[in-house]
């Protein structure tokens, strides 16, 4: 069986795309950028020394799962979620939901999704898909990274739902159980923007928000001392490009998607200043992309002398200055509404 009226769509990011698909199916016509913006998805954090990361890394979005929590709170949507102690119980519940024609989102380890080309399959426990049907031993999957619906063997879906390691999904699935009769976008947009401005400008943690971008710029010059050799350094520097461009970020570390959100917000709130800020953020995103390309080039060419790392550091520091200025402006505009 397959839930016939479910409309599969590609999306820029798996979590915001999955939530958007579920909400659209439940009758709420909302775009992915609006989901991303209302749920305050944009973020920055730099982690130089953390037990869970073997090497310094950074994030450009809020933590996995937070988008669903924020969108539920701000739009009054009800989701019901389940985790499981054993795999059979997890599969039974999913099958029951499908029998009742309920598209169900699942948190999975990307590695087990055999419809993904082998060279792209890595262990990431926080990929989100929507399961929309089952035919014999195959589940029908709507994965927002793919243009068409795909099939996945039940043993592979099981492995991906119950993968171990950091942020293990424990079979986590969720679905929509309630959409309010009236949705107030205006208030939700304002709250979403205020939270992002707070996170980027005022969160009292030295490695988060704009302070995190500055720390990244300062600390990246120490990366050569933390790596085994030039190959390792090249690998870590090229990861900057992957984290900004190649992991469902919508481009330029989610800056392009947030820019699109601000354009939609300008229209909904009838506030042209947000439209101007949307265009500014698109330009800021272009420069993040230039930075990303610079990192990828020097990594690929193994051109990793102190001069190039210093240049990369200055490019990152410049992003901190520009984003600080941008979020101060955004904060002022949103306070006036």
């Amino acid at each position: 069986m397959i839930i016939e009226n479910f409309k599969h769509k590609m999306a820029a990011h798996c979590e915001s795309g999955t939530i958007t698909s579920l909400l659209n199916h439940a009758g709420l016509q909302i775009s992915e950028p609006l989901v991303f913006g209302i749920s305050s998805g944009l973020f920055f954090g730099y982690f130089h020394k953390m037990k869970s990361f073997p090497f310094p890394t950074f994030i450009v979005r809020n933590k996995p799962g937070q988008m669903r929590i924020n969108i539920a709170k701000r739009l009054g949507i009800k989701f019901t979620g389940y985790t499981f102690h054993n795999n059979d119980e997890g599969q039974r519940k999913l099958d029951d939901l499908l029998k009742n024609n309920i598209p169900t989102a699942a948190q999975v380890d990307f590695f087990y999704l055999d419809y993904v080309p082998t060279w792209e399959r890595v262990h990431i426990n926080v990929h989100f898909i929507v399961v929309i049907g089952k035919e014999y031993t195959d589940y029908i999957i709507s994965d927002s990274y793919f243009p068409e619906l795909v099939k996945l063997k039940s043993n592979l879906l099981d492995s991906s739902r119950f993968a171990g390691g950091s942020m293990s999904p424990r079979g986590y699935i969720f679905h929509v159980t309630g959409i309010p009769s009236t949705v107030h976008y205006e208030e939700a947009i304002i709250k979403g923007i205020k939270k992002v401005c707070f996170n980027m400008l005022h969160i009292p943690v030295p490695f988060l928000g704009v302070k995190g971008i500055r720390l990244f710029a300062k600390k990246i010059v120490e990366w050569p001392q933390l790596t085994r050799d030039n190959e390792h350094l090249s690998h870590e520097i090229m990861k900057i490009n992957i984290l900004l461009e190649d992991q469902g970020t919508g481009g330029a570390g989610f800056r392009f998607m947030y820019s699109t959100f601000l354009q939609e917000a300008a229209e909904i709130l009838n506030k042209s200043e947000l439209g101007d800020l949307s265009r500014q953020l698109m330009e800021i995103g272009d420069d993040w992309r230039e930075l990303s390309l610079f990192a990828a080039r020097i990594g690929k060419n193994r051109d990793l002398g102190s001069e190039k790392i210093g240049q990369l550091s200055r490019l990152i520091m410049n992003r901190a200055e520009v984003e600080e200025e941008f979020f101060i402006k955004l904060s002022k505009v949103i306070k006036k509404i």
């Binding site: 590609m10 999306a11 820029a12 927002s144 990274y145 243009p147 090229m238 490009n241 461009e245 190649d246 469902g248 970020t249 919508g250 481009g251 330029a252 392009f256 998607m257 699109t260 698109m282 995103g285 992309r289 230039e290 990303s292 390309l293 990828a296 080039r297 690929k300």
Partner: protein
């Protein structure tokens, strides 16, 4: 006949790719329009860094925006898919 991107646009795209990546040993005529640009089937074999370079070059040359990398993957699959995208974007502004 279904209207679509011209042969000239496809040649322009091939020249842009070759120039952007500084490739000296491939002639635009040797590049197959339909075969994937990734994976070694075509005369040009690109990687993800090349892809980003091409996206940025296309943005500059044709004043288009390719923000979403999932969409980008579909667009830069082959010369024809790039040409289709540029053609559809140009059409939007010419209507």
């Amino acid at each position: 006949m279904i209207p679509g991107p011209s042969k000239q646009l496809k040649t322009e795209i091939k020249i842009l790719i070759i120039k952007t990546l500084g490739i000296s040993d491939v002639d635009p005529d040797d590049v197959d329009d339909e075969k994937p640009l990734f994976g070694g089937e075509n005369k040009l074999t690109l990687d993800s860094v090349d892809a980003l370079e091409i996206i940025m070059a296309l943005q500059r040359q044709y004043n288009v925006r390719i923000g979403d990398q999932n969409l980008a993957r579909q667009i830069i699959r082959s010369v024809t898919s790039i040409a289709d995208f540029i053609y559809s974007e140009q059409k939007k502004f010419n209507v």
